[in-house]
Amino acid sequence: MATTDLTTETQVKFAPLPKESPGAFALRDCALIAIATGSRAQNLKELHDRIAIIESACIYYHFWGGLLRPRFDDPDFRNDFAIWARNDMHDETLAERLAIIDPTQHATLDGLRDAVLETIEGRLEEVEAAGWQRTASAFHFVRSQIVVFDTGRVIQHPEELAERLPRLSLGSVFYHFIDARRRVPERVDDFRVWLRRWGDRYADLCDRLAEVDYYFVSLADLRRELAQVLGEYFEIPPDRQREDDF
């Protein structure tokens, strides 16, 4: 499908920009590649000790990589540590405690690492024997390398974002809605940062976006939900906000 030049199209379709426009939204995209570290853990104690020393890129991968790599989106748990605790250690208690850790609530990956370690340490204190129980499948530590690139496309108006959202790549959705929370000082997504520049005009929309819980859905579902929120707000007819049919 041919690439559309969004800048020229915007001039025609949308209302004129206010005199003091908050500027265009530059669409970026990202792709992730996984790199094996060779480090693995076969019981909870080993998992703890490896997490304490692995590169922070491993922490990033095991919390966020699941969204960008080939994997079934676990409907219950998002991070790999929690999934391993449930599937391979059969420790539901630990799995639930690990699963509730919200990576966006930690300013640094080391802070996130500490949260994981504290959770495991708590479990090791409760059930000492669990630390040495060998699992059938090892936990393989993997680190990520993420490539962020400019798409060369800009969006001038929020309504245009609403139209384009269903066709954004999943990498773009990840970069602007999830990864942003680690980059932006307010720890919110890029869309809200941009919308806030328009003053109070889109305050309601920002509130609605704030309610989107991205943590338990796949990127494809997240894209659908965001498109729905924006589509309803701007009352975009379905034919202007069409996803490709498959």
């Binding site: 079934f72 393989h140 999943l170 990498g171």
Partner: protein, 412 residues
């Protein structure tokens, strides 16, 4: 319509758009893939599509092959078996044949390889080319398509020396890898949705295949597609069918496959399967030629449930193929099957014929749930295991290697 555009109708236009964007970051890069065959086998199948797609996104991609005398292939087959654990030493004269074949290929390919920005060497066959290209300017990547987690050590020690000088490696799963002195990228295999094995088929064509093999369209069909190999457990599949049959009297079982010419056990296994099938007219043991892609495609489409009850498995692309056709899979709890079959979402993982029988009955009984799992299965493959994803990861890797070993690369 370009090849790349034709994937947009299957994978999504935004996916193709992203590939173009990513490709523009490495536009003009000279990439050479080297393997040992242009036809036959999974590697050739992938390269046959991947190389033209790389070209379409702006990469100057080429594909070369290495060949040699019979002794060369005997040696590389020995590598293949030994890397997967067979304790078979390789005689010195075969190693010499392997080294000479690589040296001869290097004489022919050296200018191209030494000037390339990236060279992908697939599997051990061409791995020694690196030693013969001392003035190489680009990055060399060893792409290992097999599981070498438990290799026969004497052979692995030899090969480890051969590949030690590479800049990076690629494995399908982290479980398949060995510690090596360079970064090991993980890129899972994929299926080509436009190939004969996976493209959409007319219902008439599927029905014709069904009639050709005397299958009844009105009764449920359970299918396993795989070589007649002990690790695929075809006898266990028959056992599962027999356990399910009293509860589903109309059940039909199709075991479709062949025996590889390089597999001396294949014939014996086939006879064992035929003996286990006995005179049950509802068990269909089909010996198919290696190029029966459309037949397999049709069988997967007419099947009610697909099995892959392997005891050991590499990635298990037959599972991916079935999921792509909207079929839930009852799969052995091993290898890459575990990555694809998610209990109650895309199928069921089982460890015994009894478990397989139970899940077959469950899926046949619960039609709506089966259909929902089939829908999820197709979406899962669409998002994760199509060739477009593999191309994206190759392009990401190229960008990554070009920009150094940092965790995050921000391009303008």
């Amino acid at each position: 319509m370009s090849l790349l555009e034709s994937y947009a109708s299957v994978a999504g236009s935004e996916v193709v758009d992203q590939l173009k964007q990513l490709g523009s970051q490495v536009r003009g890069a000279k990439v050479v893939h080297v393997n040992s065959t242009r036809k036959g086998g999974g590697v050739a199948e992938i390269l046959d599509r991947l190389v033209p797609l790389m070209q379409e996104v702006g990469v100057d991609a080429q594909w070369e092959i290495i060949d040699g005398p019979e002794e060369f292939y005997e040696c590389t087959k020995g590598f293949h078996n030994a890397l997967q654990g067979a304790r078979v030493p390789i005689p010195e004269h075969r190693l010499r044949a392997y080294e000479e074949a690589n040296q001869r290929a290097a004489e022919r390919l050296r200018p191209q390889l030494e000037s390339a920005d990236f060279v992908f060497i697939h599997d051990p066959q061409p791995a020694r080319l690196l030693q013969h290209c001392p003035n190489r300017k680009g990055k060399w990547i060893w792409r290992c398509h097999i599981d070498i987690s438990r290799p026969y050590l004497p052979v692995w020690k030899y090969l480890r020396r051969v590949i030690a000088g590479y800049d990076a490696g690629i494995f399908s799963l982290s479980d398949f890898a060995q510690p090596l002195p360079f970064p090991l990228y993980l890129i899972a295999p994929s299926i080509d949705p436009l190939s004969d094995k996976n493209r959409e088929l007319d219902r008439e064509e599927s029905m014709a295949v069904l009639h050709r093999f005397h299958l009844d369209a009105d009764r449920p069909i359970v299918l396993q597609v795989s070589r007649f190999d002990r690790f695929k457990d075809p006898v266990g599949v028959i056992e599962a069918y027999r356990l399910a049959k009293p509860h589903v009297p109309g059940l039909q079982l199709v075991l479709a496959g062949g025996t590889a010419s390089d597999d001396p056990e294949g014939e014996a296994m086939l006879h064992e399967v035929q003996a286990a099938a006995g005179d049950d007219r509802d068990i269909h043991v089909l010996m198919l030629p290696p190029d029966a892609h459309r037949t397999i495609n049709a069988l997967q489409r007419v099947a009610t449930v697909v099995l892959q009850k392997s005891l050991r498995e590499g990635f298990g692309l037959t599972v991916t193929e079935a999921l792509w056709k909207g079929k839930p899979v009852v799969g052995g709890n091993t290898g890459g099957i575990r990555l694809q079959v998610v209990n109650r979402h895309t199928g069921f993982l089982v460890s015994t014929p009894e478990g397989a029988a139970l899940r077959i009955r469950y899926l046949l009984r619960n039609v709506l749930e089966r259909q929902e799992m089939g829908r999820k299965a197709r979406a899962f493959v669409r998002e994760n295991f199509l060739l477009t994803r593999q191309l994206r990861e190759y392009l990401t890797l190229l960008v990554g290697l070009a920009h150094g070993n940092t965790d995050r690369i921000e391009l303008a």
